[in-house]
Structure formats: C-alpha cells, structure tokens
Symmetry: C3
Subunit: 455 residues, 3 copies
C-alpha cells in the first residue's frame, strides 16, 4: 500500500508519547501553579459583599462561547476544503487547540496573572487561551497538509511561548491596544507560519498537486467554517475589551467591517475570475478579512463609516492576494502557503495594525469624552499624546513581525528534525497516513447501484 509507509515502532509511538508527556507536564504545572481566581473560587467570591450579577461570567461568557466556536468549528472546518485531508484538518485543529489552550493558560498566566506564586484563572484566562490557540491555528493553515501531528504539537509548544512573550511586550510593556489581535494574533500567527513554511520548503510538492484541490462537498464543509467565523467575529474582537460601550462598539464595528469585506470579496472575485465566475477560495477566506483588519481599531472610535471602509479595503486586498500574491510567494519566495494565510491574516493583519495606529493618533478627548480612560488610559492620564500612542502602536507591529519571523525560523528548524512524522512529498494533503480512513469512500453510491440492479 503505497499510501501508508510502514512505520517503525519508534515512529508509531511518537504521537502517543508526546501527547502523554505534554499532558502530564501540563497537569503537574497546573497542580503547582494554577488556582481559581476571585470570580471562580467559592471562598473568595463569597468573601465580601457583591451581587452574583457582578460576576464576570455574565459579562463575558456568551462572547467566550462564540470565540470557542470559532476556534474549534470555524478554524477546523475552514480547513476541510482539501479533498482528502478533512480528518486531519478538523482533527488536528482539535488536538492542537486543546493542547494550546492548556499550555497558554500557563504561559500567559506567568506573564499576566501571576499573583503570590499562583496563576489565577477564570473567564479572562479562558478567552486569552483561546486567542493563543487561534494564532497556532493560523500558522497551521500555512503548513496544512505538509506536516504530521507530532510536528504540529512541537510547533504549538514553541509558538505559544513566543505568542505569550510578544503579547506581554505589546500589552504590558509598550501598552498598546490590540483587543482583537490584528497584531498579536493575526500578524504574529501568519508570519510565524509563513516563515516556518519557508524553512520547510518542499521543491517537489507537485507530486501531491492532485490532492491540493477541493471537491464540491469539501467546499461546502469549508463554508461551515467560514460562516461560523464570520458570524462570531464581532464576539472575537469584543470579548476582551472594556465593558459597556467598549464591547458594544467593538462588536458593531466588526459587524460592519465584515459586511463590507464580503461585498468587496464578491466584487473582486468576479472581476479577476475566469469568465467572470466567482471563486469559492475567495469567498471562504477573503470575506473574513474584515474581521482581521479591525482587530486593533474596532474598540476605538473608528466610526461606522471607518469600519465599512476598512472592511472593504481588506476584502479587496485579500482577494487580490489569493489571485496574484500567493503564486509569487510560492514561485519567487519559496513560501508554500496552503490556506493562503498571508492573504487572510498576514496582509489584513498588518493593515489592521496600521489602521489601529492611525485611529489611535486621531484620538481626542472630544471624541472619547470620559470614555478615553477606558480606551487609552495613558492619553487620558496625560502620560502620552495621541501621536505618541500611534508611534507605540507602529513599533508594536515591528516587534510582532520580528518575534514572528525569528519564532517561525526557529520553529522551522525544530520541525525539520528528521525523526519527526513529516509526510513524504508524494503523500502531502493525505489523511490516510495518519488516520484509518473508511475503505470505500463511496459505499453509499455503490450500495445504491446495487439496489437499483436488484430492483
């Protein structure tokens, strides 16, 4: 069976042992360091005088659940478009994210909520952990089909650490704003994955070319991913913002931006398509660029018009990226980007960072009133001018690109270790290496013919 290289016992044991090792180590670190925070601990919450309605659960849990759906349903199914890689797309998303959220609870906890020797967890840590998993899944998109689960878990192990470090530098040291993560999640995840994919460049990938396309039904499965990402993106960007008008405005801006990126995606897709026809790849991906591009600015006073304009631009750039930039990336820069994360997360992420810098630079106390304190506390307190905040935001983009590039390079070197479970060039985008696949895919059709013959 050409498609299933017989593997040595050593190879076979890599995945189980790595899973057990990672889960075991995580559990021990949890035992030592992780404790309930004030909002989740029975004793702490009931100490003092407050209403149950004040518990953060009621302010953020619905948004968290939407984010959770995006990570596992959205990302998972978006990548099912490949005709023979559906089990791996949705399965490895499941595995990677389930590991990343635990590991990130520890890493982000050390950076952000380490108090008295303990990491305190609750709704905010859950949202942040899911965000970290999002970055890992974005990077996964660049190398989809060309890596095994052991490689992917090692990537997540490294990436979550660098994600946490970059996020700490941005939010805590540079004190920039990036609620929906145009920089911390999208730019970081995309360029980490792209550099990593460059290091793993496969000159003979055309041997698996016939498996790189979609089928009619795999495209419909992918649309499940697209639509769930699209509808819940307002919750993604607003989940960690200031309460009240902050969450409300962020959700509203994201909603408009996505609507506009959808129209520009359809417009550009038909414009550049053969014979004026639409391309599912564009609709599945570029229509989401509106969510990425306002990741930094949606909590600011972007204005509804600003949201539409930003979304429109992002959808257009993303669609053009699929048509014109992806082929160049592969042929000239030797970056093989399976899902086009450069178009969906890379360029719109950078654009979102620039937009965030611009909108921050335009902040005035007239526009924000007493709300300036919750969006730009340093400006409100007079410690920074709006221009200075804008410069910090720009610098944060530079920092993010640096962390992502160095991290992606390191990740690539790590994943090139020859003992890992990398598929051969002729077996990329193929589930059967890692999964037991039902022997007869179209049993149903044959059965039906059988019946007709009998009848």
């Amino acid at each position: 069976m050409a498609w299933s290289p017989r593997r040595s016992a050593g190879r076979r044991l890599q995945l189980p042992l790595l899973c057990l090792l990672l889960q075991g180590a995580t559990a021990i670190l949890f035992a030592v360091f992780v404790r309930y925070n004030r909002e989740t601990d029975a004793a702490l919450w009931h100490w003092g005088n407050h209403s149950n309605a004040d518990n953060e659960f009621y302010f953020r849990y619905p948004s968290f659940q939407d984010v959770h759906a995006m990570i596992f349903v959205g990302f998972g199914f978006l990548m099912v478009f490949l005709q023979r890689y559906g089990f791996s797309s949705v399965g490895f998303t499941f595995l990677l994210a389930a590991f990343a959220l635990q590991w990130s609870t520890l890493i982000q906890g050390f950076f952000h909520s380490f108090r008295g020797g303990y990491i305190l967890v609750g709704m905010e840590s859950m949202i942040n952990a899911d965000f970290s998993a999002a970055a890992v899944l974005i990077s996964f998109g660049a190398i989809l089909g060309k890596t095994g689960p052991v490689q992917l878990l090692l990537m997540a192990l490294l990436e979550v650490v660098l994600f946490g470090l970059n996020e700490f530098v941005l939010l805590s040291l540079l004190e920039v704003k990036d609620a929906g993560g145009s920089m911390t999640i999208h730019t970081f995840g995309a360029y980490f994955g792209l550099i990593l994919s460059r290091v793993l460049y496969r000159p003979h990938l055309e041997k698996s070319k016939h498996r790189q396309g979609s089928t009619y039904h795999s495209d419909l499965f992918a649309m499940i991913g697209t639509i769930f990402l699209w509808i819940f993106w307002p919750s993604f960007n607003s989940a960690p913002t200031a309460l009240g008008d902050g969450q409300h405005r962020t959700a509203l801006n994201t909603y408009y931006s996505l609507a506009a990126s959808t129209l520009s995606t359809f417009a550009l897709s038909a414009l550049v398509g053969g014979d004026g026809r639409l391309d599912m790849v564009h609709v599945q991906n570029a229509a989401l660029a509106g969510g990425v591009v306002v990741g930094t600015s949606a909590e600011m006073m972007l204005t509804p018009f600003g949201a539409l304009a930003a979304g429109f631009l992002a959808g257009a750039i993303s669609t053009l990226g699929y048509k014109f930039v992806t082929p160049i990336l592969e042929s000239k820069l030797k970056v093989q980007d399976t899902c086009g994360v450069h178009n969906l997360h890379g360029m719109p992420g950078v654009l979102g960072a620039l937009l965030g810098s611009l909108v921050a630079g335009l902040a005035t106390s007239e526009a924000y009133g007493d709300g300036l304190e919750s969006v730009f506390p340093l400006i409100a307190e007079g410690q920074r001018s709006a221009t200075s905040q804008a410069m910090h935001q720009l610098f944060a983009l530079f920092v993010t690109l640096t962390f992502a590039s160095v991290g992606g390079g390191l990740g690539g070197l790590l994943l090139r270790l020859p003992i890992l479970d990398s598929p051969p060039d002729s077996q990329c985008y193929e589930d059967q290496i890692y999964w037991e696949v039902p022997g007869e895919h179209e049993h149903l059709a044959q059965g039906s013919q059988e019946i007709e013959t009998q009848a």
Copy 2:
C-alpha cells in the same frame, strides 16, 4: 461547454460593478448619516451616571448572535438541499444578507432612529437589520436557482426599502405588535417573493427538472440549516421584545410551539407519504413553522398550551402545503416556489398574524397586570380597547399583503430587464454558471479506486 455560455465583457462586469457601486454608495451614506448611539459611543455612554451592566449589549447581544447565526448559517444551509446549487445557496445568502444589513441600517434608520440629522446605531439596529435580511432571504427562497446574483442584489435593494416602509407603517403608525415578524418578516418576505416568482414565470423550467432534487448529502447539509434555525428561533422572536418577562416569555412560547410543529410535521409527513415513509422536505421546512406562527403572539400571554396548539396547527398546514398546495401553485397559478416559502413562511405567517390579532383581542388587565404597559401600551393607557388593538392587527396584515404584492410585482418587472444575469431555462439550479466548480466532483472516490488498484 454548454453549461457555461460565453458571456460578453459587459455581462461579466455587471456583478463586480454593482457590488462596488452599492458598497460605495452605502459607505458614503454611512459617512454622512450614521453615528454611534448612546450605548456605543465612548463619550455619550460615559456621560451621566450608570453601570456598565446597564448597557443594552448585555441584554440583547446573546440573542443577536443567535439571530445572526440563523441568517447566515440557518438560511444559507437550509437552501443547500439542491444537488448542484450549494455554492450559490450559501454564497448568495452570504452576499445578499451582507448587503441587506447595511442597506437596511440606512432605511430602517431613517424611519426609526433618525435624530438630529443622524441615524444612531447599536444593538437594536443590528437586530433589526438582520431581520430585514431575513425577509430578503425568504423571498430568495421562492426564486432560488432561477436568478443570478445581480438580479438578487437588485431585488434586495428594492425589498429592503419596502420592508422598512411596511414595518414603519405597522409599528409606528398603526402601533401593532409584531416582535418576531409573522407579518413584517414572514408574510411580507413570502408574498413579495411569490409574486416576484409569478412575474418571472418560466414555462419551460422542466428543462432543469433533473437538477431540482436533492442528494443524500445535500439533504444532510440542509438539515444543518434546519436545526440551527429551529434551535435559535426562540432568540429570533424574543430579540426585540420588552426586557424581563417579555423576552423570557417569548422565548418560552416559541420553544413550545416549535416542539409541537415538529411532531405534527412528522405525523403528517408519514400520513401523506408514499408507503408511510417520511419526506425530508417536510422535516427540513414544516418543522420550523412553529417559529413563524407565534412571531406576533409569542410576546403576549399566549399560554404554554396556546403555543403548543399554534405550533401543531402550523406544522400540519405547512406539511399539507408542501404535499398539496405547492403543485397547485405551480400548475394553476404559475408560481414556481423553489423552497416552498408559501408553506413555511406564507401560510404560517398569515396564520400567525391572525393568531396575534386573536390573542391581542383577548388581552385583559387581569392577565397582564402591570405588564400590560410593556406589551400593549395603548391599551394600558386607555387609548385603545383590546378589540380595537385586534382590529389594528388585522388591518396590519392587509397592509403587509398589499405592500408585499405591489413590491413583488415591481421587483419582478425590474428583474425581467433582459440585460441582467438570469440563467437560461436549461441552466437553472446550476452553480457552474456563476461559480468555478471543482472539475472532478468525485475525485476522492476515483483516487480511492486508484489506490486499491495499486495496492
């Protein structure tokens, strides 16, 4: 290639140019007119003394997200049942709704929240905009497979205006109740689409008959749409009602009504089916009629029994409609109703309007207590008797049918413009006219046979 008529450059440019024009015009109107409301504006919200917990976001956002899922996942996948029209069903739903919600923000804004020269937006406008998109998608269901995306966008352009006008007459002038839109959304959307379909009547549609059915997997995809509509319908009807008991009771009534319509649908489907077998078309659609039928009355003191009885009746009528009314509509009245919106939205919508009138007419101050003010303010204030309210509700149904019929007629004339992208009779229900479709649908199966041969 018979299935892909070579199109002139002019035809090819229609969709991109229309998308760009609509998005450009919408953006300009947003720049001029649309502003954050008190709950989304940083300065306005922080002016005055209130808790963040009072922000409307926390009362309506979870319901909004459910509605949003219904529009894009529910409607989109419900229409995927056609074997070769999945890309268009889910893709055009995406495009139409993304445009309609922007355009409706402007139209409904002019009618409902135009203050000091500005349209103020926030959670309520988002819910209402999604509702308007729902009406457009209902009409889409009647003409599914027989119209191109340019035609559909023009339909949305017109329908959203008339939807907003009808809604304004009902809610603001006649002051009737219709929270879940039995009249404003379902009756309006259905009859607008049916009349439009009548004007676009195709006598030779049998040329595409072989594509009008479903496949096993397209029916399963459609069930994704059905189930998401079904589970979130309580949120749909309760999203815009009065807070507190109002939202709570509306959700509860809708939940019961849907449960009952599911049982009556299964009962009737097996009763009228060949050899006692169930029909997926009935289950996919008629089981939802319970949500439609209580759209007006669910916020009233319908009683749990009333909800069950209404749902039961709606499911039964809807199922019988698919079996007996749809064929007559087509053969006698020349209305080709692809999704059977007459059965799911038309008849149950009218029934819902009548039920709303009845329940309003039975309103007493005993039954509602001090809650009468929030459900029927005019009755509570003595400006209207319950009977008068019931008469107004009835009249509102008549108004809605008129707006829908005239609008659908106008829409049909508009869509018959010969330069538009209408598919030929032999190419209806076919994705390949508008989409690049993966060349070999069953690559997977063939690949698998290849492998077996090799092995």
Copy 3:
C-alpha cells in the same frame, strides 16, 4: 424492492397516530396544568419591585441556548456517522427530543415545580427538559439503527418518566449534587439504553454489517456533532448550578477536563490503532468523555488540576473501551451498542459519580468559605458531614443504576411488541425503510461526467 418491505395500512398509520396521540395528550395536560412562572408571567413579574436585569433569563438563557444546540445539533450529527442512516440519526433525534422536552416539562414539573395545582415553567424547566431529552438520546445511541420511530417514541415515553423519578429521588430525597448529570443523565441514559439493547439482542445482526461503517463524508458530518458537543459542554454542566462563582467555576472545570480528554484520546487512539494511525470513532466520542466525567464534580472545588486529571482519565478509559470493551459486550454479554454509549456515557458517567463522591467527601469550610452554603447547603447548615454527603452521593449512583436497569428491561419488553416498526435484521442501519431517500445518491457525479462528455 428488497429494502422497502410493503407495509400494511395498519403499520403505516402507527407513526402518525402515535405522534398525534402523544402531542394531543401533551397539549391537553399543558392546558390543565402548565402555567407561566413568576419570571415569565406578565402580571406576576411586574408585581413587586425588581429590575428587569434580575430576571433569570439574563443569567441562564445563553447557557440554555448552548444546551439546546448540543441536544439537536450535537447529538443529532454525532450519530450521522453511519453511511446510510443519516436521515434517521438527525431526524429521529429531532422527533424524540421535541417530544421528550414537552413530556418532561410535565413529568419534571410534577416532581419539582408543582405549586397550587399548577406546573410553573420558565428558564429552569426549559434547561431541565432539555437535560431529560439528552438522557433519551443517549439511550437512542445504544440502539441506533435497530429500532423504528414508533419504538423510539415509546421508549421516550417510558424513559422520561423514570428519568424524572430517579432525578427526584437523587436531588430532592437524597439531596445529592449532580449539576451536569454524570448520574442522572449519563449513567442513567447509558445503562437504560444498554439493558434495553440487551433485551432487543439480534443474533443475526451481521446481515446488516456492511452498513454499520462510516464513509469519509459521514465521518465529517459526525465531527460537526462532536465539536458542537465539545465546545458547549461547559454550558451544559454549568446551566443549572448556583449563580455567580458556581456557574463560572463549573464552566472552567469542564473546559479543562475536555481539553485533557482530547489529548488522552489522541494518545490512546494512536497507541492502540493499527500501524499507529488514529481512529475517527475515538476522536468523535472519547474526546467528549471529559465533559461527562466532571458532570457531578465540576461545580465543586475540584481544582483546575483535578479537572485535567479527571478528563485525562476519562478520555483514556473511553478510548480503551471502544477498542476492548465494546467487542466483549457484544460477544459475551450480547449487548449491541451502536454508538458505544457505554464508553462515552456509561463508564465515564460512573467514574464521574465516584469522583463527585470523592470531591464531596473532601469538602471543608476552608476551601468553600461562605460559598459552602450554595454548593453543599446541608453541610453548611451542619445537617450532614462531608463524609455523609459522600456516602449519599455513592448511594445515588446505586439508585441510578437500579432505575436504569429496571427501566431499560421494561423498555426492552415494551419495544419487543411484535406490532411495532422494528426493522428486519437485514435492514438495520438503513434510512430507506423510514424515509424517502433521493433515488440517485450520486447524481452530481454522474451529471459531472455527462458535462465532461459533452464538452
């Protein structure tokens, strides 16, 4: 047509008549007994002085909606893995749950909220009714493919009564804790279904063996079910707990437990799999065991480490169960368990009950502070020691197993009535007995070939 035995008129009418009878009887009982509770009744809610924000709707509705999605999307699609039984899996789930939630409103209402001759309904009754439906669907999983809809409705009729009785004994008489239902839902539902399946044992089931597997796409559909169950399980366990820290902690613990069970499932699946490959059956099911195992203890001070450890163990046991226990159950004990509910709900449910007993036994007033009152009121009030609570929890498991076994036995005898719609051994796992199935499943593929020939 061998696959569609001609049925007598009497047989054909069974399903419609039973649906109509059950719905009619339920509606009459609703008319007599069911009334809005204080939170849903216009007069009652507006009587007295409280803010709309205090309405229970805002504390529990988002969680309820997640639970609702689990019941109808999660359970429905999880069972679609069978290649020819997708319509029945998702369709009968729909029918059974829609009936069970109504019937359970009555049964649970009599036991839990019968005041002054009336059953009072609102958010809590909705959540509880959905929970009861979950137990029915778990039992359905054991007999999936081997029973007709009439049999299933009769099973639900009986099971809901026994579920309500068992729940009453546990929660009201024994006063044990079981928020997420490790005992009341999972253990009860699983062993009810397994014993029932034993009574319905089919010695010649191998005649339908060729239909018992999955296809590539049916496995992807099943993953929709898995992922929706997985992401929303934190809402399932936390939906009915005490407000504030209670809901928050329960959701957090469940989130961690599920993450750990996912890693252990992947580890064990690869370990026991042929050639080190992963098995979709394990991923689809065992990864969910982390939600089941903390059903009793997640609201307690389990600690984040405890949640990880419990989830890890449950995922491992569940995966090993699929590999080693299920074949023995069938060959030695004559229990044919289609979905492996023994592995997903049975063993993890029992383990969850034991864990709940252990954690209850460790409760101290230091760990819970003033929160002890809301988790263990009897311990807080000094009426019970922690050890006594632990003993009560253990006894509750014994009671549950007894109710489930006796109930499943009775259910099996009932379902063996020869007049019911049980499929013949050669037609198990086959939709075409109960559904009109699209004649040519692969029309699309054939159409595509047609086109290529033309071109």
